[in-house]
Amino acid sequence: MFRLKGFPFAPALLGGLALLFPMGSVRAEGIPAVAAEKSFTIEVSRNGFTVVEGPVHQMKGETHLSINQGDQVTMTLVYADTDYGKNNPHRIALSKFGLDSGLLDADNPRRTITFVARRDGDSFFRCVKVCEGHKRLQAGKLMVQAVAGAVAAQPTRLALDVPRDVERGEPAALAAVLTDATGRPVQGEPVRFLAKTNFFLEGWMVLGEVTTDSSGVAVLTFRPAQSGDVNLMVAFPGDSAYRASEASAAITEVGVSRLYRTEGGIQLPGTGVQGTRFGAAPGFRIPPFAAIALTFIILAIWSTYFFVVSQVYRISQERE
């Protein structure tokens, strides 16, 4: 514990900082270490969903299934239009989890969906096939209560597909594919594209962030403007349901000319500016000696600073 003596306002300042940067806290009490198993048997008919096994809440015509995050869920769907007189096929999907029952009809009267509810929040299970009673089969709701630390995130795999050769300054499509441990595409997750840059310090520059589609694919159009080859990386930051993953690749730029060229001045690294693509209008150009003069002035000023600081050093070294 440190104390700023002589500053009566220090506690208030520190208090303000604490407000600004609150320390996080984790509640761990009462959280089951092992996920529970939940089973539901649901009859699907032109009249809607009817839960015949498992806890259920019927609210304003909707069927609500309530579970906890991390639960192992077995959802058995039973075809219940046997009295209809003709086949009335359904197909039930849990879009948030990327799951689908497959065709549920007289020939396939029982389907089972098994999954671990890794993500919290509400989602819907509904019929995605046009059928008799289709409207009534849109009202299934799965409510997953969040339980901190109750579920281990699922590993993911990220692949980056880039063209081998890219014309400098031309657009190139970078495609990332995000799949889970079983190889199923992960939809609706952000994937960040980065390119390695090197200026004094090496680092990754963010090119953009794209959300994966239903195939788990995120595509970013990249227009390389740097000279030389470009190392690229895609990164999935992970969330409560999926673990982070990343992949990298390199593209080779072809093309002999620089993307930018300097018409006036002298060639200095990183100062190429004249955009050939957009055809900047010809006009006044600062003559080459201006850069030399400017450099000389700046060096002179900073040398003077150095001299002045050296005087302070010599003052400190002074002996009586």
């Binding site: 009566p8 300042l13 100062t271 900073w302 003077t304 600073y305």
Partner: protein, 457 residues
């Protein structure tokens, strides 16, 4: 509760005045600091909202893409000229009356530069984009010139602030009460740089200060000239001007003097510096402000008259906007309330009092902030292509950042005054000694003690 520590008995009256604020803090002062810190915290919260939501949370859009942040930037860089003028120019010209106010002026420079430099970074949205200036910078661009001149000026100002503090640091090192916190003693010992006041040390320090005083003037002028070129090297109505360099420099010194006058009133009152910062200082600086105000009016007239006479289509739209349109209240508030009225207040002997000069200084600073708004926003509103006029409505995020920037400026300034003497003790003492010697030469016969310079009120 106010913290009161007894000052050592071996101090001169001047040393006591310099040391007292460091050891004693009134309850009201502490409360004010907490209030300022609260506004700064709010600023950081607003900025975090912008970081999360992007620049969409501001009122800036594709047409009017600069707003309050750039207005604040130009304003703070402007008032940073206070230190240069008061300290460097008056030192070079040998104006002895400057000594009690030089440190305040120099601190204004450093703090204003630090806060001002944050504004364009805030304006970028993602702060890491500032690195692009280094990666993709080109020496032909005024933005790069700005970057170079501001960093050079900030470094120079820090050195120039530090050099005259060395003897005062030594005084604090040697005379600080034993009850003072250890960190203070360590800080002063380090910053004193082994100062013992030997002739060689004095010679070196004088040389270093003189060099910096001369060097810092052209650098300061270059800074605001280059800031103006960011605008005037653009073909836009209101910005396409050849006189923007000197126009901005004069405006910067004008608002810089106003800032130092406000700081003088506040610190004089809080730290009981009436014996050292006298009416004479206010009047002298008031005269300078008056002169700069008149020059600024001349530049303003020259700028707008030449444009209005030629009346190109875009210029006509801008002038309509400024003179009679939606921006007219701000333009006339600047022109009349921020320039003409302060000049008249200082020019008229009956209002040339300390409260009168304070009112004039406050009006000048408000007016000059409005002037920067009038420069930045209306020019961007004028359509360069056949579209409608651009619109700009600052959001609460921008107002919060603006309030926080001002609060941060005052907070850092106030904290500085609690750690370091706000007047240059050794320079004031030296000046008093010089005045006493002069007085004794002028009055050969024994008589009453010579009055302290500036104590004529």
């Amino acid at each position: 509760m106010a913290s009161v520590k007894k000052l050592p008995d071996n101090l001169t009256e001047l040393e006591k005045v310099g040391m007292r604020p460091l050891l004693q803090t009134s309850r009201w002062f502490a409360l004010a600091l907490v209030g300022l810190a609260g506004v700064v915290v709010w600023w950081m919260y607003a900025y975090s909202v912008q970081l999360r939501g992007g620049l969409a949370v501001t009122g800036m859009r594709d047409v009017v893409m600069w707003g309050l942040y750039i207005v604040n930037f130009v304003f703070f860089i402007g008032i940073s000229h206070a230190g240069t003028l008061i300290s460097a120019i008056l030192r070079v010209t040998g104006a002895g009356w400057r000594t009690p106010i030089t440190r305040m002026a120099e601190v204004i420079t450093v703090v204003a530069l630090m806060i001002g430099a944050l504004m364009p970074i805030t304006d970028l949205g993602h702060p890491e984009r500032a690195l692009n200036l280094v990666i993709f910078g080109r020496y032909q661009s005024p933005i790069l010139w700005d970057f170079l001149s501001i960093t050079t000026y900030l470094t120079g100002s820090l050195i120039y602030l530090y050099l005259p503090m060395i003897p005062d640091m030594a005084m604090l090192r040697d005379k600080l009460p034993l009850t003072a916190p250890a960190w203070r003693r360590q800080l002063y010992t380090m910053l004193a740089a082994g100062w013992r006041g030997t002739p060689t040390q004095k010679r070196r320090l004088e040389r270093a200060i003189s060099i910096m005083a001369v060097l810092i003037i052209p650098i300061a002028v270059s800074v605001h000239t280059v800031v103006s070129w960011i605008f005037s090297m653009t073909v836009r109505p209101g910005w396409n001007s050849t006189i923007f360099g000197p126009y901005f420099v004069v405006g910067a010194i004008f608002s810089g003097i106003a800032s130092i006058l406000i700081a003088m009133v506040i610190f004089r009152r809080i730290y009981r510096l009436e014996a050292y910062i006298t009416k004479k200082h206010f009047v002298y600086l008031g005269y300078l402000m008056l002169a700069l105000g008149v020059i600024y009016m001349y530049f303003t007239a020259a700028e707008y008259l030449t444009v209005a006479y030629k009346l190109a289509d875009n210029d006509r739209q801008l002038l309509t906007l400024l003179f009679t349109g939606s921006q007219a209240p701000w333009f006339w508030a600047f022109g009349v309330g921020g320039t003409l009225v302060p000049v008249l207040i200082v020019a008229y002997p009956r209002t040339r009092t300390i409260p009168g000069i304070l009112v004039a200084a406050i009006l000048v600073n408000i007016g000059m902030w409005l002037k920067r708004f009038v420069i930045v926003v209306p020019s961007l509103q004028v359509p360069l292509m056949p579209f409608d006029f651009g619109r700009y409505q600052p959001t609460w995020v921008e107002w919060s950042v603006t309030a926080g920037a001002f609060a941060g400026f005052i907070l850092i300034f106030a904290l500085f005054s609690k750690v370091f003497p706000i007047i240059s003790v050794w320079e004031v003492a030296e000046q008093e000694e010089k005045a006493a010697r002069t007085a004794s030469r002028l009055v050969p016969a024994p008589g009453p003690a010579a009055p302290r310079e500036g104590s004529d009120v």
